[in-house]
Amino acid sequence: MNLLNVAIQNAGYEKDEPVIHDIHFSVSKGELIGLIGPNGAGKSTTIKTILGLLDHKAGEISFYNEASYSYIPERPIFYDELTLWEHLDFIAAVENRDDQAYKAKAEELLISYKLLEHAHEFPGKYSKGMQQKAMLILAMITEPDVYIIDEPFIGLDPNAMKLFLTSIEAERERGAAILMSTHVLDTAEKVCDRFLIIHQGELQAAGTLSEIRIQCQLPEGSLYDCFHTIAEGDAIE
């Protein structure tokens, strides 16, 4: 079952100046898709288009049966005036969550990510790694159907990275669909089911690693080799 369908004809920040073109894909239940590409390729623009943050867009983005989603941005964003617990409390209130169930889930996540003792502090004052963990907790608290994650590994220490991957795996098993933009290709190669390689605002290759290898004409190549071939402009016929 496809939880997210993306059919972007074009999108951009200015009228008549599209940055991305013809990007079509879908994310199914329990699937983890890696959105990869060099800097300036259009990954963040694709994510912003999915989130409805761009005014100039042609195409359609649809979530299956009003599926809920959580977005984890590359740079953590918080309310400077709210503690982490108050962020969780706010989300639970506006999402109409059961109070006891949400509190139990929040505590469980805070303990797992070792942030329980910092829950009543302003997350804007946390270290970079702690902020990243706080963002993950805020995304997971609502148990969304779809995750849209932008560069999750930046600022995470190895333990937090392991914890993140374990949490993501658990969410997949629950049935969540995940779209993850990343530059950490070796990790992406291990955890993602499929890949979308974007270059110069267009989808250059898509599919499983085997399918990507065929498209890049690199039968034994790693994800990095395929990425490099596309990024360096070697034509894909």
């Binding site: 989130l51 409805g52 943050l53 989603y69 959580s70 977005y71 941005p73 964003i77 918080f78 309310y79 400077d80 005036e81 709210l82 503690t83 617990w85 108050e86 409390d89 706010f90 639970a92 209130a93 506006v94 999402e95 109409n96 109070d99 829950a119 009543h120 502090e121 302003f122 804007g124 004052k125 805020l138």
Partner: protein, 400 residues
């Protein structure tokens, strides 16, 4: 490239930056229709002070002017013009870096001296004709205030390093009081025409301030601290604009790690509904961010002053309606600013609950604003009426 040219380049860059900030607020219409007439009126008024002292100065004792000057010299910071990139590049060239900081310190002192001189020039007609001070008295006072200013800059430089908010505030208040007592002492010596002790103490303070300031500045250890001061000084005019016009951008927040109010993330509303969730976020953000409530109190105080001072009743009524429209549009603006600043909650802002909560929160803050305005206007008008009563009584006494 030498240290002087580096400093000069940074000074020029900073001046251009401040000019651009000024131009962003004062376009040609503001300059022609507001600033130019205001400047002409000010010049005319100042010229008239040389002919005859203004009436308002009559009831003001000179000690009050001196106290205001003392309070004023607490403004400003010791500038070094150290930038973030210096941590990587200029820091390796120690003589160049240190000399640049020396120039910056010298400039700070000259800048502050010019500022004081301008204040004295503005007050000069009153000092000479109303308070009948001699030139030597005025120069001595200027010297004393400049020496004290240089000392305060040094003290503030060190006080800023204190991380703990309350400790810093307590120490700053203590130093303010101690130096206030010291200033009163000097003031009394100055009034007694004991000029030598004033000159000696001022020169000693000035020399010690320069020695210890240079000692504090000529080290790498405070680079982060100096970058923070430079950044704060550079953007202080922008911060002032942000405070006045909320639509321009996100205001500055405090350095606290934990909240002062609703510690342990205590809830405001027991009943957890989406509407209460939206409202609670707004209330907490509003109360915990001083720029929001300062602007709120500013709107109330400006309108209170206008209603109390401007005499015709119809203007008072008009001012009240202007107050209602101003406060309402400002509150709606702040609400939207708080919510639109965060991309993650953008998915919630199209809901009915969001708009219901906004209406309720804005209405509550409006009611509070009206109550406060009514309270202060009542007090203001009562004081005004009492003053008029005293005036009439004294007039009658004079007639009799």
């Amino acid at each position: 490239m030498n240290s002087w040219s580096i400093f000069l380049k940074r000074l020029r860059k900073n001046s251009n930056y401040q000019f651009r900030v000024f131009r962003s607020v004062a376009d040609w219409t503001v300059v022609i229709y507001i600033l130019l007439p205001a400047a002409l009126i000010a010049i005319f008024n100042y010229y008239s002070w040389w002919m005859e002292a203004p009436k308002w100065i009559e009831g003001i004792p000179f000690f009050l002017i001196f106290s205001l000057m003392y309070a004023m010299i607490w403004a400003g910071n010791l500038r070094t013009y150290v930038e973030e990139a210096d941590k990587v590049f200029l820091i390796r060239q120690k003589p160049l870096f240190m000399n640049m900081k020396k120039w910056a310190y010298g400039y700070t002192i000259v800048h502050e001296a010019v500022g004081l001189l301008i204040s004295f020039l503005l007050l000069l007609p009153m000092l000479l004709y109303h308070y009948q001070l001699y030139w030597l008295d005025i120069i001595l006072l200027l010297l004393f205030l400049l020496s004290l200013k240089s000392f305060i800059l040094l003290i503030k430089y060190h006080l800023r390093k204190i991380e703990h908010r309350w400790k810093k505030l307590a120490l700053q208040s203590l130093v303010f009081l101690i130096l206030g007592v010291y200033s009163i002492l000097i003031f009394q010596i100055w009034q007694s025409n004991l000029l030598i002790p004033v000159i000696a103490l001022s020169c000693l303070t000035f020399m010690l301030s320069i020695i210890f300031s240079l000692k504090a500045l000529l080290t790498h250890a405070s680079i982060e601290h100096e970058i923070a001061i430079h950044h704060e000084e550079r953007t202080k005019n922008i911060d002032r604009i942000f405070m006045m016009a909320q639509e321009i951008g996100k205001p500055r927040i405090s350095n606290r790690k934990k909240p002062l109010f609703w510690k342990k993330s205590k809830r405001i509303f027991r009943n957890r509904t989406p509407v209460n969730g939206f409202a609670e976020l707004f209330i907490k953000a509003f109360i915990r961010n001083h720029t929001y409530w300062l602007s709120y109190t500013q709107i109330i105080s400006v309108c209170t002053a206008a209603i109390v001072i401007i005499p015709p009743l119809w203007i008072k009524v008009l001012m009240f309606f202007i107050f209602l429209i101003w406060l309402h549009s400002w509150l709606v603006n702040v609400w939207d600013q708080i919510y639109y600043a965060n991309l993650q909650v953008k998915k919630y802002v199209e809901r009915d609950d969001y708009y219901i909560a906004r209406t309720r929160a804005v209405r509550s803050f409006m009611v509070l604003g009206i109550i406060l305005l009514t309270f202060f206007v009542t007090i203001g008008l009562s004081i005004f009426a009492m003053m008029q009563f005293v005036d009439i009584q004294s007039g009658l006494r004079e007639m009799l």
